[in-house]
């Protein structure tokens, strides 16, 4: 990373920490914001946050690795999480999973080369009466069928305008 880039990032990270404060109980809200903005929590970010909270970076790392929604590995701008728990399984999640893999050209746990999509499994997302269900970032889709997968992905693609990144940060799809 260029020094100027690093300085810019440092400034942004500091602003996030300052928003939440430096109490230990602010750590997870801070990490959630970093994840939302950068789609990953880098070593550098962990170091900056640790320094500001006065804890060891390994402490930050141990928290990041514990939670499914905090990630060291880069995640796409659209994270698709298909529910794999029993009611969605009985409602036909396997066919939806297959079609997601086909249409995105990746397997579960992978991110597309263009950095747009990450495909993951989720445990029960509380839509058991309307399965198969999945989350795309924070938005929930229910009664998904293999045919609908294409429409949902296209909707994501279309929102890739100049404002997409900003939109993703605001947690609107």
């Amino acid at each position: 990373m260029l020094t100027t880039q690093q300085e810019k990032l440092m400034g942004e990270l500091k602003a996030i920490v300052e928003k939440h404060g430096t109490d230990r109980s602010a750590l997870i809200p801070i990490l959630q914001d970093v994840q939302k903005c950068y789609h990953t929590i880098s070593d550098f970010a962990m170091q900056v946050i640790a320094d500001m909270l006065g804890i060891h970076p390994v402490e930050v790392n141990s928290v990041v690795t514990f939670y499914a929604f905090l990630n060291e590995k880069y995640h796409g701008k659209f994270v698709i999480r298909l529910c794999r728990t029993i009611s969605c399984e009985m409602a036909g999640k396997a066919a939806v999973a297959r079609q997601l893999e086909n249409d995105l050209g990746i397997k579960f746990g992978e991110t597309t080369d263009d950095g747009r999509f990450t495909l993951e499994w989720a445990n029960c997302i509380g839509m058991c009466d309307q399965g198969p269900a999945m989350l795309v970032n924070d938005q929930v889709f229910t009664r998904v069928t293999p045919e609908k997968v294409h429409d949902i992905l296209q909707m994501c693609e279309q929102s890739f305008g100049p404002h997409t990144l900003q939109k993703a940060e605001e947690h609107v799809l």
Binding site: I28, Q32, C128, D129
Partner: protein, 394 residues
């Protein structure tokens, strides 16, 4: 019935319970909750009045009221519906609890999967502040100050366990603590804290509004009141239902269009799998307790697929802190896969049963203690179906 408008909960007048509470002493408010006999609606079934009384009795400069909105148990979604349809009732219940125990700060621990609810919940909180239902001297009650904020979870089922939830609030990994000490004494930041389920707070508002006797007029002696159930699986009308405690499984199945089921999973992945021969049993603390998850399996379902799915869930969600749970769930899952391939001897199956029973005793928290339940009940009730399989490919 799955339209929530037909429920009793929908008829509760907004903030009547809070207004009634503020006209009484703290002790009397706790007394009413205790008289109602309500047990926690999150699954563990601890009497709510007793919990509040314990926290009220501790002297401290700071106490917390925490609403457990982590709703991660497979098959459970009634808390989502309560928060979408009646958020006021939940915040009202938290405010009543705060008054009763002497707390000035409330936290809703909302699962990350429900981020789409935040905007609506924040708006509701703001409206309550504007209307003097949160903030300083609530409803003109001098010295009663209380506010609520929302804290997001980050995708970990175990954080629904109350001590793991507190660890998570404190910025740590969500690893359950040893109990005692209990949160009512040593909770968030070491202060007395009550953790209650979303539905528990909603019913607390209803009880203060309508009285303990009204609540007790539903249910059984040991399991009073009404309860919300999340119904999914092989039924004609899945959704959220309100039933009195003590309903039999067959009555429930009739209401939701699940007649002809082969088995019902009560209490989610950590609950029990009840075969059709036992559908006369009741859903109550004295028989089969539950946080409200009902998953129905039709005649064609393979019970090994079901238990494999549950054990994959537990293997994934175990915090890994203690051996019986970390290793035990993996062993049970391997065993189920052996059964599916038709490669498991009776001797090994009996060892797996012993392992499951050991986990029930030796695991540190409720996750590991209950994760073998489904496996054990399926081995007990469906032995004919699971032994001597010929694999599909053979």
């Amino acid at each position: 019935m799955s339209t929530m408008n037909d429920t009793m909960l929908a008829t509760i007048e907004a903030d009547a319970g809070l207004k009634a509470a503020l006209q009484q002493s703290r002790i009397d408010v706790i007394g009413i909750i205790r008289d109602s006999g309500m047990k926690g609606r999150g699954g563990a079934g601890f009497p709510t009045g007793v919990k509040w009384n314990l926290a009220a009795g501790v002297h401290s400069d700071k106490k917390y009221v925490v609403c457990n909105a982590d709703e991660g148990e497979p098959g459970t979604f009634k808390d989502r519906v309560i928060m979408s349809d009646w958020p006021d009732l939940v915040f009202e219940g938290m405010t009543i609890a705060a008054y009763a125990i002497g707390a000035d700060e409330g936290i809703v621990y909302l699962r990350g999967e429900y981020t789409y609810l935040v905007k609506q919940l924040e708006e509701c909180l703001q409206k309550r502040r504007d209307n003097g239902l949160l903030g300083h001297s609530i409803q003109g009650k001098e010295g009663f100050n209380f506010d609520i904020h929302i804290h997001m979870g980050s995708g970990a089922y175990v954080c629904g366990e109350e001590t793991a939830l507190i660890e998570s609030l404190e910025g740590q990994r969500g690893e359950p603590r040893n109990r005692p000490p209990f949160p009512v004494n040593t909770g968030f930041k070491g202060r007395p804290t009550i953790v209650n389920n979303v539905e528990t707070f909603a019913w607390a508002s209803a009880i203060l509004s309508k009285g303990a006797d009204w609540f007790k007029s539903f249910g059984t002696d040991k399991s009073t009141g009404l309860k919300l159930f999340s119904v999914s699986g092989d039924v004609a009308r899945p959704g959220v239902y309100e039933f009195p405690m003590g309903i039999t499984i067959s009555e429930l199945l009739n209401q939701v269009g699940g007649e002809g089921a082969k088995a019902v999973q009560i209490g989610g992945a950590s609950g029990h799998c009840v075969p059709a021969s036992q559908f006369g049993r009741t859903i109550a603390y004295e028989d089969i307790a539950t946080g409200g998850s009902i998953i129905v399996f039709g005649p064609e379902r393979d019970m090994l697929d079901v238990v494999e799915n549950f054990l994959e869930f537990f293997q994934d969600e175990s915090c890994g802190q203690c051996t019986p749970c970390r290793i035990g769930n993996t062993k049970l899952l391997d065993g189920v896969r052996m059964l599916k391939r038709g490669e498991c001897s009776m001797k090994y199956l009996r060892e797996l049963v012993k392992l499951g029973q050991t986990m029930q005793i030796a695991a540190k928290c409720g996750l590991g203690q209950s994760s073998p339940n489904a496996f054990l009940s399926i081995v007990e009730n469906f032995q004919n179906e699971i032994m001597g399989r010929i694999p599909a490919s053979a």
